[in-house]
């Protein structure tokens, strides 16, 4: 399979001399769900946010389908972001807009600000949004304001917003951390199936090892700003987990 996203020698330090990421090398292929696991503060979130440049890297290269993401600015950056879908931990919906408007936000990169202001989106975008609402089971909620939804519903809308972009890769930053166990499973199922149906890779930050094992095709374990495990879920042993999370009491 062809490599879609290739990260080489990526470092990031917020304060000089205190690196959060210490040289990450990762390749992502055009199919499959990759789960990045690791304890909090280990740089998972920084890594995933650097890919679409919500955070700027300090050094290294991010090659996305032949496009170097690490140094682009302005219009080129916006055009690259349109191709990358992102799902957030706390959903990050625009609370006072309706569900439909939140979905259409995913098309803002393609619509002129004037038309966006007048809510004039191409009919195929609206049709796509209605389709996605069906997929996520919220067909009746199009007019509801985002702040009236439950956590699980919001995260579905968050995923649908990312899918509206017709992305070539889907990133998810701790999409289940604010949700209960049952809803978490549903969200992971949705991410997995959408990745398969749209034929795009999915990269998920997650700290729940069981969820990662259940849904991921590949697991990347991080600790202290480095990748310490990279392989299929069935190869992830307790020794690896000790290395990733430290200690062992929590394993029993």
């Amino acid at each position: 399979m062809a490599v879609v996203l290739s990260i080489k020698g990526l470092t990031k330090s917020y304060k000089p001399g205190v690196p959060v990421l210490k040289g990450i090398d990762l390749d992502f292929e055009e199919r499959g769900l990759t789960a990045i696991i690791g304890s909090s503060g280990t740089g998972k979130s920084t890594l995933i946010r650097i890919i679409n440049r919500l955070i700027d890297p300090s050094d290294g290269s991010i090659l996305f389908k032949g496009l170097e993401l690490s140094s682009i600015e302005g219009r080129h950056l916006r055009e690259a972001r349109r191709r990358i879908g992102m799902v957030f931990q706390e959903y990050n919906l625009v609370e006072r807009l309706s569900v439909m408007e939140n979905l259409l936000t995913g098309r803002l990169g393609y619509v002129s600000p004037m038309n966006a202001w007048r809510r004039k989106f191409p009919p195929e975008d609206v049709a796509h949004a209605l389709e996605l609402l069906d997929v996520i089971g919220l067909a009746d909620f199009a007019h509801q304001r985002a702040d009236s939804l439950s956590g699980g519903q919001r995260q579905r809308v968050g995923i649908a917003r990312a899918l509206m972009q017709r992305p070539e890769i889907l990133l998810a930053d701790e999409p289940t951390s604010s949700l209960d166990p049952k809803t978490s499973v549903e969200i992971m199922e949705l991410l997995k199936s959408q990745g398969v149906n749209n034929g795009i890779p999915v990269v998920v930050n997650i700290h729940d090892v069981e969820l990662a094992r259940r849904f991921a095709d590949r697991i990347v374990g991080m600790t202290g700003g480095r990748v310490v495990f990279d392989g299929p879920p069935d190869q992830l042993s307790d020794d690896h987990l000790k290395l990733i999370y430290g200690g062992e009491g929590w394993l029993q």
Partner: protein
């Protein structure tokens, strides 16, 4: 801060303040304020004698105010229409100019080279009373409503601009981040990420400013910048106190009506 619960015990440890007992600092402050008041009253040439004479005057003044006279109602009407026109135009253009200035001045959206000039403009607009600004504009564009409109545009930028800027600085950056992550251009980030979060408060500021401009438009006329204030000042100079009262009653009524109208507008925008 001492908790009230901690003070409710009967025995108060040494050094603890008595419950509900004002400390000596508060007493000293009150004494100083009182001393100041006496001193300042002296400075202002305030005497009991003068006060009584004033009350006498006031009684005569009040009796000349009643009953209010509406016989110059046409003058009242033209003055009020002009005041309202001044208020409408000043609010419209003031808000229109405030929006870009507030967005430029918001430190969470813009770099420092954009924020500090925007903030300087807003501070300057706020520093001077509309009447002083009106006087300056009268010198620039002559007597009349235009000077009043310009002065109140400046006041509106100072008020709406400042509050709107603060409102933008308080928004949730998470929602902005998500809109940015879709590759939206800056203006769309503003319309989809920023505006929905502040539109309710903005509508509130605008209706408040319309209200304030209506009140202030009665004032700028006193220095010659158009509106009902001119008629009011003229009535004072001609000692037509019954007409003065008629104007004052109308001002209060119009301001009250404005308050009802702004509540209605807020309902339309679901605030």
């Amino acid at each position: 801060m001492t908790q009230p619960g901690a003070q409710a015990f009967p025995r108060i440890p040494a050094g603890r303040r008595q419950p509900f007992h004002s400390s000596w600092q508060v007493k000293l402050l009150a004494l100083l304020v009182a001393a100041y008041a006496v001193y300042a009253l002296g400075q202002l040439d305030f005497s009991y004698d003068r006060f009584i004479r004033g009350l006498d005057n006031g009684a005569r003044f009040l009796s000349r105010m009643f009953p209010p006279s509406y016989k110059n109602w046409d003058q009242l009407l033209t003055g009020f229409i002009e005041s309202m026109e001044i208020a409408v135009l000043a609010t419209f253009f003031g808000v229109l100019l405030s929006l870009p200035i507030a967005i430029l001045g918001a430190r969470n959206l813009m770099p420092a080279w954009a924020t500090w000039p925007a903030r300087l403009i807003v501070t300057l607009c706020r520093a001077f009373n509309p009447v002083i600004v009106a006087i300056v504009f009268i010198k620039a564009v002559g007597f009349g409503a235009l000077a009043g409109v310009l002065a109140l545009v400046v006041a509106s930028i100072g008020f709406v601009g400042k509050l709107f800027m603060e409102a933008i600085e308080e928004i949730s950056m998470k929602q902005i981040e998500a809109v940015r992550a879709t590759g939206a251009p800056f203006l769309s980030v503003v319309t989809y990420g920023v505006l929905p979060q502040v539109i309710g408060r903005l509508v509130g500021f605008c209706t408040y400013q319309l209200d304030a401009n209506l009140r202030n438009s009665t004032m700028v006329g006193i220095v010659g910048a158009g509106g009902i204030g001119g008629a009011l000042f003229a009535a004072f100079q001609r000692f037509e106190y019954d007409f003065v009262l008629a104007i004052l009653i109308t001002i209060i009524a119009v301001v009250l009506l404005g308050e009802f109208a702004s509540n209605y507008v807020k309902r339309i925008f679901h605030v």
